[in-house]
Symmetry: C3
């Protein structure tokens, strides 16, 4: 494995896509492909985190992401300690720093953090000696989601994303998944189309070097991949979206809208899905089109890769 000879990965944390170089990303994806092999995942030989402690610190609920990190950490031999913190019961600002000091004194090697406030994992990373992995912060980033999406695509399409046209559809405004994916897909050479109602597209979107569309028919033209975003229930009525029904009519992915994309277009969704809101069951469950299940598999593999790479980099530096 290229990783073990002349490995250049020197990152201490995983906070955002923008921190990584293109070779860093290649290393992570290659290592992720290695861990997609289940016999590697389950064999005793790969216990590269034996004796290390990983703390899962989730200020927001996310069973899916939390358990993905827990399985990844355990398969690598780490002691995984879960700390689910109800968002309301922890005060912000200073108290996050007290939490950081307390955690740091427990001396974890890895700290996986989800927090409702953008930048909270970066702040924590300055206060603890272990590696911090951002598992989603506010409307900022969710880098491991973008990496798992890239790993999923690489498995199907191969390593070269040049010439690929990928649509990201739905609530771009509030989506950290979209922000991380846009950066990563740009870096890997894909062309990104953003599609959503004007109320759900950020004002400064032109800075991102993407094309923006407000209707699916135009936006999906020539797209090889369609990434649907989850519509948060609290946006479904009121200022952002008139109603579920109307949202589905204009932006929900069904066969008719999918036909605007390339004839062999693939569909992705970070889960959990709102069926009948942003995506039809018909498409979500079609194994010839939907990569949704593979995304979960890739999630564990890419998290194993990130934990492994960060731990290696840290060991080499100390």
């Amino acid at each position: 494995m290229a990783f073990s000879n002349g490995y250049p990965f020197t990152q201490r944390h995983c906070l955002s896509i923008s921190q990584f170089s293109r070779p860093d990303i290649e290393t992570l994806l290659t290592l992720g492909e290695h861990y997609l092999d289940l016999s590697v995942q389950k064999s005793g030989e790969s216990k590269v985190l034996t004796g290390k402690t990983l703390i899962n610190l989730f200020f927001e609920n996310s069973t899916r992401t939390e358990k993905s990190f827990e399985v990844a950490g355990r398969r690598l031999g780490a002691d995984v300690i879960g700390m689910a913190v109800a968002h309301s019961s922890v005060k912000k600002g200073e108290t996050l720093l007290d939490t950081a000091a307390t955690l740091n004194a427990m001396n974890p090697d890895m700290l996986v953090v989800r927090h409702g406030t953008s930048g909270a994992p970066a702040l924590l990373s300055q206060k603890v000696s272990g590696s911090v992995i951002n598992a989603g912060d506010g409307m900022h980033e969710h880098p491991t989601q973008a990496l798992l999406d890239a790993l999923t695509l690489r498995r199907v399409i191969g390593g070269d994303f040049g010439g690929l046209r990928i649509a990201i559809c739905g609530d771009i405004l509030h989506s950290r998944v979209a922000r991380s994916n846009i950066q990563l897909l740009n870096m890997l050479g894909a062309e990104v189309h953003l599609i959503g109602p004007p109320t759900l597209i950020p004002a400064n979107v032109d800075r991102w070097g993407t094309n923006v569309f407000h209707d699916m028919e135009t936006g999906l033209q020539g797209c090889d991949v369609v990434m649907m975003l989850r519509l948060q229930l609290e946006r479904m009525s009121g200022a952002f979206v008139p109603s579920k029904r109307e949202y589905y009519h204009y932006y929900g992915l069904d066969r008719t809208k999918l036909a605007y994309a390339s004839s062999d277009a693939l569909v992705m969704h970070p889960g959990p899905m709102n069926r009948g809101v942003e995506i039809s069951s018909d498409i979500a469950d079609d194994p010839g089109i939907s990569l949704i299940t593979q995304q979960v598999e890739s999630g564990i593999a890419i998290r194993m890769a990130i934990l492994h790479a960060l731990s290696d980099a840290r060991d080499m530096q100390s």
Copy 2:
């Protein structure tokens, strides 16, 4: 151990008592007896699930059963991942299948499922590649409870249940424990008496090949074992039971009623008990009569046996 030579156990899942043959049951009980030996449980030699992942997926709260599976899995060396899902927060139908797809992509070897809907574990077992163990589904079955009850009795009474008369008393209507026990005790050759008020006996009970009684005095005649069921708090007033006090008067097990059974009758309860409702403390705490603590010990041993047997069967088939 008979299990290791010529072992015929070929079940992929543990969904209901009816799926097992008599030799299957003998295998599980023999293996359960093996694991009742604590030195076997705690020694490193018995790590037959090392490198395997067990997910505890509980849609209903049950600390007792969940922790029993967790201890069993860990003693066998498995990575045990807990997923307590508040019943209300997960939608039914399609969404259970989405959950199944997500879990399956995490590739667990074992999935222990408790769900409020009868048949949910069976549905999941068709959608995942690992083994599904039913830890209680709706009013359907709770097979590991019946197996642990049988293991408990076998330790005290020996392997032959022929000629044994066993009473199951209380809320038969809503009890998955009763349904699993009736099937297993019938299969093992015991005679089963069901005792409860007419409102808590199912309509089709005559199909089960058991005798039904509405008063304890008649029903307990000649019984060697008295299994009391937990009365759910929500049944204690209203249509099913007039009041706690009246229920205890007619169906609560005290010394007077126990005297109707055989003179050396033993008492069981799946826990947790409502003392003074379905059973008196006097009886529950009498070590010469009550097997309630042994039932918990048997619970861990039989769950180790089931996990071991399912894993072995799967490894031989793949």
Copy 3:
């Protein structure tokens, strides 16, 4: 390590400071110092609890203490099973004994218990065969907190506490931390000053062999260490304390009040802190004064020491 030759530690449980002899305490602190060395904590060599089961049974929430025991147990190789029990959902008295019987049947080697009722861990210890460690019971004791405080001081000041003057300030009345610390500091030869408003000092405090003060200026005279207690939010208004602001004015530790103590006085707090209520951020965050972060580090080390010592004592007796 002195522990391994001629080791006299024979305690079965850790329920209160008063149960330990002075040599017991020395053994625990020496072993705790050993485990403060992180390379010992993380190496595979120190897995003295491999194959042992530790159950964390918390009837009151305390992420900090619970996770400290979880990390300690895992670093020693134990299987750690968490049982967070909402205090309200478990009935008192008899039902605690049912819980004890159920847990005992699971055969844990160690049972770490936090409970809102004084004496609950002691009661449990009579009903289970494993070792019970009191992680805080009512207004009674929190022995591992006192031990970690002593370990923290020993690291800074050295082994001899004779001649040391230590103030414990705040809500003495409701504090199990204070009760355990007073006993341990007395045993180790320190002079203890208790400081707090008359409403928060227990009536029988003169029995404890300490000096009591109602104002910080007098109480802090000549003190080498100032231990601040957490003020429970529910005491902050009403009968005990007129208001947060007034409490801080009279008893909150700031630079002005700290100046009454010795010029190189050190500050401790068991956490989590109410900044601006019992302590100023200024002092809490000053690394030249505050030992608060070291207390958390000591917490894991001393809990490793206690688990190790109890396990060894038990193995030698059986």
